[in-house]
Amino acid sequence: MNLHITQDTIDTIDHLQLVGEVDAYTAPKLKEVLVPLTEKQGATIVIDLQQVDYMDSTGLGIFVGALKSTKKNDGTMKLSGMTERVKRLFEITGLTEVMDIDNEVKGEAR
């Protein structure tokens, strides 16, 4: 019932790897790391969701907010490797239309 966030910057691309659960309890932790990244001018953010085993609307809300913020600062944000379960949430809510989602990336292929 927790969330571990690993942050790594490779060639000006900010990578975040999330492991665990994104819910109302862990959301502040994610916001704390993600929001400053989205506020950088022209940031490129890639978030790896492969090991997120639970997410609800709190998580969706954070990504909506982060996307808005990156767009405002001429940056981009991509979500990668989400599980079928997490992907389903994005589909139900229609967020697949507005988010940059890349699920082709398979673990070691990167």
Binding site: M1, E21, D23, A24, Y25, A27, Y54, D56, S57, T58, L60, G61, I62, V64, G65, L67, K68, K71, R85, L89, I92, T93, G94, L95, E97, V98
Partner: protein
Amino acid sequence: MNKASDFIELTLPAKADYVGVVRLTISGVANRMGFSFDEIEDIKIAVSEACTNAVNHAYKGAEEGQIRIGCGVYDNRLEIMVVDRGKSFDYDTLNQLGPVNGKSIDQLNEGGLGLFLIESLMDKVEISGDEGVIVMMTKYLHRDEVEENVDRTSPAPTQ
């Protein structure tokens, strides 16, 4: 058929810290009843959404309240009730919430997807309450696929 064979009740502080506890408990109950993995995940999300709403909206700034969760275990369904005694929703704004549906990212609200998800993931949802909110949600068991598990946990119905 309509009598709950078991009733499980939880009372927790309305804090985000405990939403995960509710999720674990409910997934245990749903698992016992023989729901599939995907159905259990749906139930977990729906219950978390209802609890998160209570945590975020019901007791905003005021004294710390409690959330009560009741689970009615029936032969053919699981009924979950999430009750708080905080402020109730504004029903008019509720209708404006929902999925993206062609809206641009600027028009999207960071909140407001929770209730939409509850309605999408559960079979039946009723929201009521003047003082506080009662979210009543039902998920039906699709017995054919899970006969074996169901028989272990609830009295077998007469064939």
